[in-house]
């Protein structure tokens, strides 16, 4: 000890510095997220709970909420046996299956093709993402006119180039379904494309080169190295599209109004129709709750199957 005293403790210490009165502690992080939390609660949770609350009443438009009779779970039991609800659920699932499958495949394929810095790639990229910038209402209007049986370009060019008879696109159940699927693919493939290409370009080049040295051909590189490495990005893109399928309704509302019949009526459009066409706000709220449950279940399922927060690892 004598030695240590000599070499390291030669100086007399001054008065200790006073400890600051305020120190970042337990409360600080919560104080910072509080405003955001408030917005979340107001903007997100309030409507959700409101929908749940309303779903317990038989509330018609024009009636004061106070006068609406409390019906308990009647709206829900009615919903479970309502063939219309099952019909639009089936339409929504078919719509989701076709659009998401094709958008993911096409978006990933385009991203892989345009990933390399070839001449003009940036022009292509800009053109591809244009549909994303168009508001859904405008998209609906554009494609309604394009698919129009009498004055639409689609019928015109199908006839002029391929000699195909004019079709009543939006008046036939199957063709109308095809039309809204096609429109959705047109608008949302760029979304997948843009996310995937960002992921691909962020991949460390040495890992891809290592796989070249290891003898992987283009396909093996894509399916065994590149796509697995951007798995978390793919999962997030898939999730966002799935949620959108259950949320989106503007395009169908404008193009077909859900018809003919209920052939293009997605779940959210059906809720809209129930609420504002048939004016059954309570019942529409009950179906909204169903929608929330479905979206929540799907999200949880996907996130547990492939946790994008966890699978991202540094190389």
């Amino acid at each position: 000890m004598a030695h240590a005293d000599m070499d390291t403790q030669r100086l007399d210490l001054p008065e200790p510095m006073p400890q600051p009165r305020f120190q970042a502690g337990f409360i600080t992080p919560y104080a910072f997220i509080f405003p955001a939390l408030l917005v979340m609660l107001g903007g997100l949770l309030y409507p959700v709970f409101m929908a749940m609350y309303l779903s317990l009443y038989d509330w018609q438009i024009g009636l004061d909420l106070e006068d609406a009779p409390f019906v308990g779970l009647t709206n829900f039991s009615r919903m479970l046996t309502d063939p219309q609800v099952w019909e639009v659920l089936w339409v929504t699932m078919r719509f989701g299956f076709w659009t998401i499958t094709i958008e993911m495949t096409l978006g990933v394929a385009l991203a892989l093709l345009l990933e390399k810095p070839i001449r003009g790639a940036s022009v292509f990229r800009t053109i591809f993402i244009l549909p994303l910038m168009v508001s859904p209402v405008v998209v609906g209007l554009i494609w309604r006119y394009l698919f129009d049986a009498r004055v639409g370009w689609i019928n015109y060019y199908l006839g002029a180039w391929f000699g195909i008879e004019p079709q009543i696109w939006l008046g036939d159940a199957q063709l109308a379904f095809f039309a809204i699927v096609f429109t959705d693919i047109w608008q949302w493939t760029p979304f997948i494309f843009i996310i995937v290409i960002a992921g691909l370009q962020a991949l460390p080049s040495e890992v891809v080169e290592a796989s070249t040295i290891d003898g992987a051909n283009w396909w093996q590189q894509v399916f065994l190295v590149k796509l697995p490495m951007i798995k978390s990005i793919l999962v997030i893109a898939l999730l966002m599209r799935l949620i959108d399928v259950f949320r989106g309704m503007e395009v169908m509302l404008i193009m077909t109004g859900g018809g003919p019949g209920r052939s293009t009526e997605l779940l959210s459009l059906h809720i809209y129709n129930r609420a504002f066409e048939t004016q059954q706000l309570g019942y529409a709220s009950a179906i909204s709750v169903l929608l929330i449950v479905i979206v929540f279940a799907i999200s949880t399922l996907i996130l547990t199957m492939a946790n994008p927060m966890k699978s991202r690892s540094d190389v």
Binding site: E206, A210, T212, D214, A216, M229
Partner: protein
Amino acid sequence: MAGVVLRNVSKSYGNVTVIPDLSLDIEEGEFVVFVGPSGCGKSTTLRMIAGLEKVSSGQIVISGRDVTWAKPKERDIAMVFQSYALYPHMNVAQNMSFALRLDRRPKAEIEERVRIAADMLELTPYLDRKPKDLSGGQRQRVAMGRSIVRDAYVFLFDEPLSNLDAKLRSTMRTELALLHKKLDRTMIYVTHDQIEAMTMADRIVIMKDGLIQQVGTPKDVYNAPVNTFVATFIGSPSMTLVPAELSEDNGQLHVQGAGFKLPVPDRLKDTANRATGRQVTLGLRPEHFAAEARSDAFAPIDLKVKVAEYIGSSQFLAADMGGQDITAAVEVGPEADRMSDGQYFFDTSRLYLFDSNSGEAL
């Protein structure tokens, strides 16, 4: 012809020439290290051997086969990258076996090879782990394991130790040298660290601006650098270069300048004689200074010591010699304090002379 041959290889990107014309023969089983400052073209050369970059002209031969235009996988090479470049979604065993699995080798063979490589690199306990759960040194070993299981003809290393801390780097240097002995394969190694080059290489290739400056054993390039670039690049701390003049005095050839007059050693007499009266550059390696004369070859030099860095067994002196900044590394005993101004000695048998204009060794 076995080994790796580069013949008149050049590489340009548009108008920018990175490698004008490079030829080199690497023998089978040799450990060759490319060393040079960043941007000297050493990595580009390695990537051309690997097939990751196409040559602009010239020929590359590996094991007697012209592979100039062959794909990387057709070249019988393995490569270790600076960033390790492990596949983050595969565990250690899958990382190491990837190439073999692509090659559709029998499962038993794959397992056996992975087992041997993992054993050699002490990775056996980690075979099920993902790269993100490994330390830097372990990742580095997996990257090596990945190339070992390939049993390739040539192993290429692109600054593989740069991301490791100093201690681990020196351990891995030893391991790499051992690995070379065990595998007895041709190894081509790129680094900017001359110590790595000196410690591991059979032969060192020193590059600058896309041109090979010198090729030789570590002993060659240290003792007989061909020019001032090689002389200052190899050796740590760097050689000091000072302007000087050659003069004859009583039949003895001297090299003299501000603050020094040193006899020219026998090995340089013939060439120095021809340069008498001309401006030359004198090269003094710090480690050839001493605190006292140990033989007749030691000549006194007065130094004003600005800073003495205590290293342990020796001290690095940043000193002034007749107005010139020089570095000296002086061995000291355990009791020595920080060295100060005074007379020091230089081993004149180890001095170097260069042509002042061309920088070439005399």
